[in-house]
C-alpha cells in the first residue's frame, strides 16, 4: 500500500514537473514572439508582399531605362554631352506612387555615368531668388554669379506610369486573385525639333492571391 502511494506521489510530482516545464516553455516562446525585431534588407533583392507597386519594381524600372538611355546614340555621336531637363513622370495608376523617385534615380545614374548633363528645373525659382539677392547690393560685385550663363536644355525627359488591375470574376472559390500590369514609358523630346528621339518602356505584370476566408 505504501509503495503504491509513493509511486502515485512520484507520478503526481512528475506530472507537475512536466506541466511546469510546458508552461515555462510556452511562456518563453510567447515572450520571444512578442519581442520586437529589426533586420536590414538588401534594397536590390526582389521582395513582393502583394501585387502592388513596391521598391523592387522601382529598382527594375530605373535599371532598365537607365541602361537603355546609356545605350542610346546621344553621347557617342555628339560633340558635347546632351543637356536634359526632366518634366516629370505622370502617375496614371490607382496608387499614390511618388514618380519623382523614379526620375530622380534615373537622373542620378545618368549623372554618375558622365554621359549626360542635367538642368535643375526644381531649383529655378530659388536660383532666380538667390541671383536677385546677390545683385541687390548685399554681395560684393566680384563674388556675384554671372547672369545669362545658364544652360539651355537640348532635350526634355518625360514619361507616364500606367497600371491595369484585373480581379477574378465572381465565382465560388477560396482565394481571390488579382493581376496588376504596370507599364512605364519614358521618352526624350528634342527641344529644337519637337521630335521624340528616344523612347523605351518597362512592363511588369504580377498576380497575387489571398484567402477569402480568414480569422
Amino acid at each position: 500500500m505504501k509503495i503504491r502511494m509513493t509511486i502515485l506521489q512520484m507520478q503526481k510530482k512528475s506530472i507537475q514537473c512536466s506541466l511546469r516545464f510546458f508552461i515555462l516553455t510556452g511562456m518563453a516562446l510567447a515572450l520571444t514572439a512578442c519581442a520586437a525585431t529589426t533586420r536590414t534588407l538588401d534594397p536590390r533583392a526582389e521582395q513582393h508582399f502583394d501585387a502592388s507597386y513596391d521598391f523592387s519594381d522601382k529598382q527594375q524600372i530605373v535599371d532598365v531605362l537607365t541602361e537603355s538611355l546609356l545605350n542610346a546614340a546621344y553621347s557617342s555621336n555628339a560633340t558635347e554631352k546632351p543637356k536634359v531637363i526632366i518634366y516629370g513622370i505622370d502617375n496614371e495608376t490607382t496608387e499614390h506612387i511618388s514618380t519623382s523617385g523614379i526620375s530622380d534615380d534615373i537622373r542620378l545614374q545618368l549623372i554618375r555615368s558622365g554621359e549626360y548633363r542635367f538642368i535643375n528645373r526644381e531649383q529655378r525659382e530659388n536660383i532666380a531668388e538667390e541671383a536677385d539677392f546677390q545683385f541687390a547690393g548685399f554681395v560684393a560685385p566680384e563674388q556675384r554669379v554671372n547672369e545669362g550663363r545658364q544652360l539651355g536644355a537640348d532635350f526634355i525627359l518625360s514619361g507616364t506610369l500606367r497600371s491595369i488591375k484585373k480581379k477574378e470574376p465572381r465565382q465560388i472559390r477560396l482565394n481571390k486573385s488579382e493581376t496588376i500590369y504596370y507599364s512605364m514609358n519614358l521618352e526624350m523630346t528634342d527641344l529644337e525639333t519637337g521630335e521624340i528621339t528616344w523612347a523605351d518602356a518597362v512592363e511588369i505584370a504580377r498576380e497575387a492571391s489571398r484567402p477569402i476566408i480568414g480569422w
Binding site: 505622370d90 502617375n91 490607382t94 499614390h96 489571398r210 484567402p211 480568414g214 480569422w215
Partner: protein
C-alpha cells in the same frame, strides 16, 4: 442542478450584458459628432485625435477624423486618415470566421464595420477634394481612378452620384489626363444629360466651389416582433426633405454663368444598404435558428434558464445602425469661367430645410495665372463661416 443554475444564469446574463454594451456607437465618436454638428470643429478634431475605439469601429473613427479634419482645413491630416480608411477597407475584404460566428450568436454589431459601398466611394470623393484643395491634381487623379473601379463594380448603386462623377472628370482634367476626363464627361452626358464644360480659352480662369451642406440622416433601427422566438431588427434610413442649396456667383455685382451639379447622399446610402440587405437577412435567419436551438437545449435542462435565455436573446437582437454620420446631406459643385480682370468673386449660398434657412456668403480670391483653376470648399451646417446668417 441547484448549484449549476445560478452559475449558468450568471454567465448568461454577463455575456448578454457585455454584448448589449457593445451595441452602441463608441462614446468618443458620439461626442465628436455632436461637437461637429454644433459647430465646434476644433473641439471635434481634438476629441478625435488620439481617440481609441475597438477594432469593430475603427473605420468609423478614421472616416469621421478625416472628414472633420477636412472641415477644419487640415487637408494633409485628412488625406492620411482617409488613406488609412482605404487600406482598412481592403484589409477587411474577406469573410472573417470570428466576426461571422460572433454575429451568429449576438448580432451584427459584432462584425468589424467595413463601410457601405456608398461610404467607400465618398472616401475617394473627399480625397479628390483634399488633393484639389492642395493643388495636387496627380493625387486627385489617383483617387478618381479608384472611384472608377467602384463605379464599374457597383454602378447600379452609385450611378446617381453625379457630383463624384463630375469631380472625377475634373480631377483627370486638372492632372492633364484629358482622355480619362472626356470618358467621365461623356458618361455624365449619356447617363444624366449633363453637358461637358465648354472648351475654354487659355486666357480665362476656372473657379470650382464645392459646397457640403447639412448632415445625412443617421441609420435607425426598425423592429418586427413575430413571436417570443422571432424578433427581426433591421437598419434603415428615414426619409428626409432637405432641399438642395441655391448657389450664385457674383463678380463685380454681376451674376456669372455657372454650371451647377448636386448630389443628395441619402438615396445612394439607402440603395447601398438595400444591396447588402440579402446578406443581412440571411445572417438574421441563421441567427434565429441558432438562438432557438440554444434556448431549446437550455429549456430541456432547466425551463427557467431556458426561458430567461430566450428573453435575453430577444433583447440581444439589435439592428446594426452604424454609419458615417458626419457626412453632409448634399454635396454641390458650382463651376464658373471667370473673365480676365476680375480678382475675386462672391459666392452666395441659400440652404434651406424644414426648420431653418441658412444664408452664407464667401469672397474668394482667384488665382491670377491665366488658364488656372481655383478650387474652394464651403462646409455649411458646422458653424465656421465668414459671414453666416441663420434665420428661423
Amino acid at each position: 442542478m441547484r448549484f449549476q443554475r445560478p452559475g449558468r444564469l450568471c454567465a448568461l446574463v454577463t455575456v448578454c450584458g457585455l454584448a448589449l454594451q457593445a451595441c452602441s456607437t463608441p462614446g468618443v465618436l458620439v461626442t465628436a459628432r455632436e461637437q461637429f454638428k454644433q459647430g465646434s470643429t476644433t473641439a471635434a478634431v481634438q476629441t478625435l485625435s488620439g481617440a481609441e475605439v475597438s477594432a469593430r469601429d475603427q473605420l468609423l473613427l478614421l472616416m469621421d477624423t478625416a472628414l472633420v479634419a477636412q472641415a477644419a482645413e487640415q487637408y494633409n491630416e485628412s488625406i492620411v486618415a482617409f488613406e488609412q480608411a482605404y487600406t482598412l477597407i481592403d484589409e477587411l475584404d474577406f469573410i472573417s470566421v470570428r466576426d461571422q460566428s460572433t454575429a451568429l450568436f449576438l448580432n451584427d454589431w459584432a462584425i468589424r464595420y467595413g463601410g457601405e459601398i456608398s461610404e467607400r466611394l465618398w472616401i475617394h470623393t473627399f480625397q479628390m477634394i483634399n488633393y484639389l484643395m492642395l493643388n495636387r491634381p496627380d493625387g486627385a487623379a489617383v483617387e478618381a481612378r479608384r472611384a472608377v473601379n467602384l463605379f464599374d463594380k457597383h454602378g447600379d448603386v452609385l450611378n446617381e452620384d453625379v457630383l463624384t462623377r463630375y469631380l472625377m472628370a475634373l480631377s483627370f482634367e486638372s492632372a492633364g489626363q484629358f482622355d480619362s476626363a472626356n470618358v467621365e464627361y461623356r458618361k455624365l452626358n449619356e447617363q444624366l444629360g449633363i453637358d461637358p464644360p465648354a472648351r475654354r480659352s487659355k486666357a480665362t480662369r476656372d473657379l470650382v466651389v464645392l459646397v457640403a451642406s447639412g448632415f445625412i440622416e443617421p441609420k435607425l433601427a426598425g423592429d418586427l416582433i413575430l413571436d417570443i422566438n422571432a424578433r427581426i431588427s433591421f437598419p434603415f434610413y428615414p426619409e428626409s426633405y432637405k432641399r438642395e442649396p441655391g448657389i450664385t456667383v457674383f463678380a463685380n455685382a454681376q451674376v456669372l454663368d455657372t454650371q451647377l451639379v448636386h448630389t443628395r447622399l441619402l438615396p445612394i446610402a439607402r440603395s447601398a444598404l438595400a444591396k447588402r440587405g440579402k446578406s443581412v437577412a440571411a445572417r438574421h435567419a441563421l441567427r434565429l435558428v441558432a438562438k432557438n436551438q440554444i434556448a431549446n437545449q437550455l429549456e430541456d435542462q432547466d425551463a427557467l434558464v431556458g426561458g430567461i435565455a430566450r428573453l435575453l436573446f430577444l433583447v440581444l437582437e439589435q439592428a446594426d445602425t452604424r454609419s458615417w454620420e458626419t457626412l453632409p446631406a448634399w454635396l454641390s459643385l458650382v463651376r464658373a469661367e471667370v473673365p480676365t480682370g476680375i480678382d475675386s468673386v462672391n459666392v452666395q449660398i441659400n440652404s434651406a430645410d424644414a426648420l431653418s434657412v441658412t444664408d452664407h456668403s464667401r469672397t474668394i480670391v482667384l488665382n491670377s495665372k491665366p488658364g488656372s483653376l481655383t478650387v474652394d470648399m464651403i462646409r455649411l451646417g458646422v458653424g465656421r463661416f465668414d459671414q453666416q446668417v441663420v434665420s428661423p
